[in-house]
Subunit: 370 residues, 2 copies
């Protein structure tokens, strides 16, 4: 019997392989678990004890669907942000919300602008809805706001992606620069402002909520996956003008957010002391990773995130050799995927014991490679 | 500043209101929690103690993303089903997986067949991708296989939805009838066979895995939300021919499944003793709900699910009055949405104390209504 032939032409045109290789896949291939997990910008300092307790309290109620309105969490986020809860939507991580905004705006051929080497999951969604991705190179390891704006205007783009702070480089723009960029966009271009790493950035890097709050073409995406330490719980959120935000309700998976995830996120948001404690640990760990890199003669790039990207000073082959060496020795890290960013490796902050392992193995590998 | 104008025409055409009103929304409106939660076909008998333990063990690792391949769970499901794990995909509940299969097959105008009054979330997804929904009435409170097949052929439908056992009526077809239906479909029509309630059905209602395993146009959807008691964890799965199943990877949210959900589902699958224990409780509860209905002169419809749909013997206004009476007295239930199914109310099985409350209030309401 032949294969099913009625998939859409778009679906049939998509690549069968996808670029999401988790550390577990590598562990299965290696036949051993990683000794240090520093590749996915997770938060190895972990969620708050109050969050673990909230999860434990909810576990027996796992038989209940979660509230499809995510009401309590949206109210808490609204209070936290100084916005009405109607201006906030919760989804299955920023990844899930990115898929929805792309779906709401992108049709086959719709031009979309992003930076070359920026978040691949956004690109995956754009491809998945047939969008035409236009990329702009980084400049000095930062997303190039002027070039992004030029590309938006030239292509009449419906959507532009900006992460601030940036992944995979860890760099950032000032609140003023981001605000100016947002306001300069055509009103027919939606800005996807990915602030997944906002909590670990200096305050001066984040536009005040009010600064962008009245722009119908700006959506700010945040998550509990990074500083709040809940990557496994899949809770992200987006906020903007109510008329824009409400469009998500037309297409989202209303019962998609995990009940324990909602409870965990709510508890995490309430425990701002733990967040401050984690952010201090992230800063200490960033400094230490930078110092380790410097001792090897490498150039750590100043970071506003929970990772440090390290310029290894040669070509991508050298950076890849270092990465392969670390991975083969049980240290899970990643590196940027495109030139010239791929002269770098990227190390997530984490517990001192894991950074110890990274330090020791990096030294060995650099010596071996010569 | 004007609202954002660049949403797709399809997105702008979708209704701003959606038909997903959770019990929490009603509780907020009432200003009080429900005393009995018998409306969403959740499993009030709860997940296994072994599952609660698995969740507790994973809670501290909530900072880690889940394995995007859902490898361990797919292997366990493959073993359970007698299929290779490549033939299984895990997603954010059946709801999430339904959205993906619709996306893979439906474009604006694509004909899709379902039964009038069947699962509204499937219809939500079809509308969300612009499909043209063709509905077929139930016959004798069952999905009408002959009429579905006729509609598929007449419309040259790309997709047909069948739930067996059925929601909202609780009825079912035999394995032979379903197998015959599947094999009679044009090979250009994908069968979405929703078996969410399969675990509580008689064995004779479920086609053997092998019976449909070689059909590239059949996908069987199952879930941990019902008999396994994990609705809040959002873990569903789909299986079929590998070439068909693998299409999900092109568009799914690879990191979308919750880490604790994966662990909970894996533990639940391993604890088949608990499942048997729950199924026995469901059967006892079904019998009791049926007896309660009969004592009021109503006609309970034989059910293969974890709920009982009760024919109240008059029109939809009467059924609605009973529903409203129960809800106002703190008993959360639901009812079918279309004629003639809406002469019925639908009561989920659940703990005896909740059924006690239902029984007492139903008696009062029926007496009041006269």
């Amino acid at each position: 019997m032949p294969a099913f032939s009625h998939f859409t032409a778009l679906a049939q045109s998509l690549p069968p392989t996808v670029p999401f290789v988790g550390p577990e896949t590598q562990e299965r291939a290696r036949g051993a678990e990683f000794k240090a997990r520093l590749g996915a910008n997770e938060n190895g300092f972990g969620p708050a004890p109050s969050v673990i307790e909230a999860i434990a309290r909810q576990a027996e109620l796992s038989w209940r669907y979660a509230d499809p309105e995510n009401h309590d969490l949206r109210v808490a986020l609204g209070t936290h942000l100084g916005l009405s809860p109607e201006r906030v939507v919760v989804g299955e991580g920023i990844d899930g919300l990115l898929g929805l905004i792309v779906r709401l705006i992108v049709e086959p051929g719709t031009p979309v602008v992003t930076s070359l080497g920026a978040y691949p999951t956004f690109n995956f969604h754009v491809a998945g809805f047939g969008g035409r991705l236009v990329t702009v190179p980084y400049r000095d390891d930062r997303e190039d706001l002027d070039a992004l704006l030029d590309a938006v205007r030239r292509e009449n783009a419906a959507l532009v992606y900006l992460s601030n702070p940036d992944n995979p480089m860890g760099t950032w723009h000032s609140a003023e620069a981001v605000t100016e960029f947002a306001k300069a966009l055509p009103e027919t271009t939606m800005l996807v402002l990915d602030e997944a790493y906002g909590e670990t950035a200096p305050a001066s890097a984040l536009p005040a909520i009010a600064a962008l709050a009245d722009l119908p073409n700006v959506l700010r995406f945040r998550t509990f996956s990074k500083a709040y330490g809940l990557a496994g719980q899949r809770v992200g959120y987006v906020f903007g003008v109510e008329e824009t935000v409400s469009m998500f309700h037309r297409v989202r998976n209303h019962f998609g957010v995990n009940r324990l995830g909602q409870a965990a996120a709510l508890a995490a948001l309430k425990d701002q002391n733990w967040l401050a404690h984690v952010i201090a640990q992230v800063e200490t760990s960033r400094d230490r990773i930078a110092a380790i890199a410097s001792r090897q003669g490498f150039a750590p790039i100043a970071s506003a995130t929970n990772f440090v990207t390290i310029d290894c000073g040669r070509d991508s082959g050298y950076a890849k050799a270092i990465l392969d060496g670390l991975v083969s020795r049980g240290i899970f890290i990643r590196m940027p995927g495109v030139t010239p960013l791929n002269r770098c490796i990227r190390i997530s902050t984490g517990p001192a014991a894991e950074i110890d392992l990274f330090e020791a193995e990096l030294k060995n590998i650099v010596a071996d490679l010569g």
